[in-house]
């Protein structure tokens, strides 16, 4: 593993991500988890920890955990235990959080992604189910905080990695990949502004070869941009501390987006004693193999499997496959185009390139792509049969963007545009030769330079041919013909 050093230090990062699960009701009560309701209107007796209330487990939350476990190739534990994490905080109504400690529901697993061209694998330690806490609001109150327990009891899956990451860029890439996975399989809506996907980054530094340094935990990072900034600042801060002879004290820190700095929270005892013990109100969670198999059979093809399949069946590079399986919609779009046009690599290039660019600019996802997959397939067919050059194809795409099919087949629609705009590529060798001869004649003085190897001059002649043909000449043919003619001169 190649770790980029910063001032001679290696950076070690592990992540804990809290994902809010897509259920209707809370993990242990039957109140709604819908976002944005008026304070405490979705906090029932169980959520408020009123005396005499007891937790009852939501099946859907468990199923979401199973889905995640399968998606990352983890072991779904046939028996797992809920434990109480005891501490006092106003947004924690029971004075303890029901979580999982020694035996979590999902164990192991890994997340693969690309950082630039390099493939990375981050190992997961575990993922466990727990309940979310409420919220404290400060704006309207002087010296006081208002506690809203609507969020208390929302089901969370906490996903913990090994400290496998070695740079802030890698960490962000991991987070993005994880975000993709959980939204792909539909266990989380991924809405970071609403707090559906929150990351804590454990950061430490060390000289290469030395044991792990003391880590500090940056809490509640809910934007990829902030994640990178926060980690970068933290790393430099830790380096400075060590260089000045100070030790790093294990602590929890918060990132301030306005100042761009991380700062330790003022907690009294930093390693709080949570006194974990199995929750006596909840017997062990048993997950039979039949349930796991049932979930597996009903799950949409997982991104890693689909990417592997794309590589195998369509012969596209792994990098492409991973990129194309960013979302279910994108992968389905690609596959449709690839199948119908028979041009997998071309489809990949267009989907990753032109299509993605346009959709990003319009803030749209592939599920709402204004160009139907069949239409793109038709365009690609016309490129592959040399009717269209790449540039000409872009013109067709622009023309058909956001245009409905209106009873025509995609191919006939594409052809009608080609016809209308006179975009048909000139493939006729004779016609091309004529243009080439004309250009060569007009540029006789360049021929010697070209024969000597001057590519710039050669490209300029190609340019002239293209211009003379109003861009319709088949560039490859022009190239080949030009070469052979000059060679013959």
């Amino acid at each position: 593993m190649n770790s980029p050093l910063i001032h001679g230090y290696e950076v070690v990062i592990g992540f804990e991500t809290h994902t809010q699960l897509t259920t209707q009701s809370k993990i242990f009560s039957r109140a709604s988890i819908a976002f944005g309701s008026e304070a405490n209107t979705q906090a029932c007796a169980v959520d408020l920890a009123l005396p005499g209330t007891l937790p009852v487990m939501n099946r859907q939350a468990v199923e979401r955990a199973i889905e995640f476990g399968l998606a990352v190739g983890a072991h779904v534990s046939p028996s797992s235990v809920f434990a109480r994490k005891n501490y006092f905080y106003p947004d924690l109504p029971k004075g303890y959080q029901i979580s999982q400690f020694e035996i979590p529901v999902v164990q192991g697993g890994e997340v693969e992604f690309f950082l630039g061209q390099e493939k990375k694998v981050v190992r997961l330690v575990r993922a466990h189910l727990e309940e979310d806490a409420g919220k404290s609001l400060h704006e309207d109150f002087v010296d006081q905080s208002g506690i809203d327990l609507n969020r208390a009891g929302t089901p969370l899956l906490e996903i913990v990695t090994e400290p496998d990451m070695r740079s802030s860029a890698e960490a962000v890439a991991y987070a993005k990949e994880l975000h993709k996975i959980v939204t792909w399989i539909g266990i989380c809506d991924g809405n970071m502004q609403e707090g559906s996907f929150r990351c804590d980054a454990n950061v430490s530094i060390r000289r290469p070869g030395e044991p792990l340094g003391t880590r500090r935990e940056i809490k509640n990072l809910n934007s990829f941009k902030f994640m990178q900034q926060a980690i970068d600042f933290e790393v430099l801060w830790q380096i400075e501390q060590l260089e000045e002879g100070h030790k790093i004290i294990q602590s929890t820190v918060l990132f301030n987006p306005e100042t761009g700095e991380t700062k330790a929270m003022r907690t009294k005892e930093d390693s709080a004693d949570y006194r974990y013990f199995p929750d006596p109100d909840l017997p062990a969670l048993i997950i039979e193999q039949a349930w796991v198999d049932h979930v597996r059979s009903n799950m949409a093809e997982l991104p890693r499997a689909m990417a592997a399949r794309f590589v195998k069946d369509y012969g596209i590079p792994e990098y492409d496959a991973i990129t194309l399986t960013q979302t279910q919609a994108m992968s389905h779009y690609f596959e449709q185009v690839a199948k119908i046009s028979g041009q997998a690599k071309m489809a990949s290039n267009w989907v990753m390139g032109e299509l993605s660019r346009r959709l990003n600019a319009a803030h749209l996802g592939f599920e709402a792509c204004p160009l139907d997959a069949l239409t793109l397939a038709a365009i690609l067919s016309r490129i592959s049969d040399a009717t269209l050059s790449n540039n000409a194809a872009k013109v067709v795409l622009e023309e058909l963007w956001a245009k409905p099919l209106e009873g025509q087949t995609p191919l006939s629609l594409v052809d009608s545009v080609i016809e209308l705009k006179g975009l048909k590529q000139i493939n006729d060798t004779k016609a091309l030769e004529q243009i080439i001869d004309t250009v060569l004649a007009a540029n006789a003085d360049q021929i010697e330079q070209i024969k000597a190897g001057k590519d710039k001059a050669f490209n300029a002649l190609i340019g002239q041919v293209m211009k003379a043909s109003q861009g319709k000449a088949n560039p490859k043919d022009v190239n080949d013909l030009m070469r052979s003619k000059i060679a013959a001169l």
């Binding site: 007796a45 408020l48 920890a49 009123l50 005396p51 005499g52 209330t53 007891l54 937790p55 009852v56 487990m57 109480r84 005891n86 006092f88 106003p90 109504p93 029971k94 004075g95 303890y96 506690i147 327990l149 004693d273 006194r275 974990y276 013990f277 006596p280 109100d281 909840l282 017997p283």
Partner: protein, 508 residues
Amino acid sequence: MQELHNMSLQGLALAIKNRAVSARETSEHFLARAKAHASLKPALNPLQTADHLTPATTSCGAFVSFNEEFTLNLADQSDQRISKGQARSLEGVPIAHKDIFVTRDFPTTAGSKMLEGYCSPFDATVVSLLQQEGMINLGKLNCDEFAMGSSNENSAWGPVKNPWDVSRVAGGSSGGSAAAVALRLCPAATGTDTGGSIRQPASFCGVTGIKPTYGRASRYGMIAYASSLDQAGPMAQSAEDCALLLSAMCGPDLDRDSTSLDVPKEDFSRHLNDSIQGLRIGLPKEFFSDGLHADVRTCIDLALHEFKALGAQLVPIELPKTELSIPVYYILAPAEASSNLSRFDGVKFGFRAKTYKDLDDLYRKTRTEGFGEEVKKRIMIGTYVLSHGYYDAYYLQAQKIRRMISNDFQEAFKTCDVIAGPVTPQVAWKLGEQINDPVANYLADIFTLPASLAGLPAMSMPCGFGASSMPVGLQMIGNYFQESKLLNAAHQFQLSTDWHKKALRGTT
């Protein structure tokens, strides 16, 4: 017709159904009795120890709240149903609830300043179930704070005094329930038993009480003390009455309590009249050791003699881990309690300290002022045994020994059908006598703790009078789900003896 307060539940139900007396009259009758004995003023200083109380008044401090309007309304509704021929099984029969069960129409305090005036938005399942049989809620009964205690001296509202001798404790934590039934202030009461809190006060006050198999009665709405031990149960004048109530109280509550067992509702009265010829009664040698006072032993022996006369066989058995029940229970129960009581923080409900300088101070002042001494002590013990470095040696070890204790019982039940012995080593002690020696209090729980740890059904029935003419109870422990066998044995015993009928001076 007998006096209403001397009638059995069955008798009352029939009388009301046949309109020999109205539900309203019945409730008025019991309310009047209850109120006459409820002159104990709530003690707002939770630090007040029994030393400061004088047993001068005959009032026993059993009831802590009433809602006369609500009670009589319910009674009127019962009368209406009866006139329409829609009487349910216990229509119009009054009952009172230990103040550990939340009720919508009465405040619920759990004997604590922490919940003074607390209004629950829902009823405990057990309360609803009894109400669904037509029972009328008379009021809430005093108890040891958060069900922690064996004497009912730990209530913020003052102690419950033993009706047989008001200078003595009623037992705990369901002291109010036991005293109320003993005084016939209500025909029956609900209690809860975590380490003996139904059986022991029943024994001290000369009434009958039963704790079912763990998981039979819903814990929803029962303010939690030790989750893996708490169970609700009835306290009444006889095993027959207990059987009626237990049948109503038990049943799966699958939607609200994850520890509630999915076993069907049962009619625990169906075997009451079976002969107990050949019933094998196991006598654990550990229950008849030196610690057992002679006067109690005499009563127990006499009772066992009676069982023999009824055809039962006495079988010697062993429960070798009996003594370990004490440390095991007093590790596990406080551990769970320390966590269960963390919700009392002055934020969402209940008591909040008047002055505090910041959040941490709010927590500390609220909990220090709101909780009584015994509760704080158990929270401290619980916090300690769960803390880092001690969990394995204490909590985990205790859970393991708990399994061994449970295994002991299963071994014993291979050679007997039920197990019998004393409930406590001695009769009720004097108020204030053991308040400064809580360890002595804990040791006195030795006979009731084992069945609690194993989750087995167990009951207490009056079987005589010991030193200072104080009641003595006989304990019977059954195997899982064998409540009807216990009640059968008790009923047969009560058919040929009359300890359970002994009335207090001034109650008839």
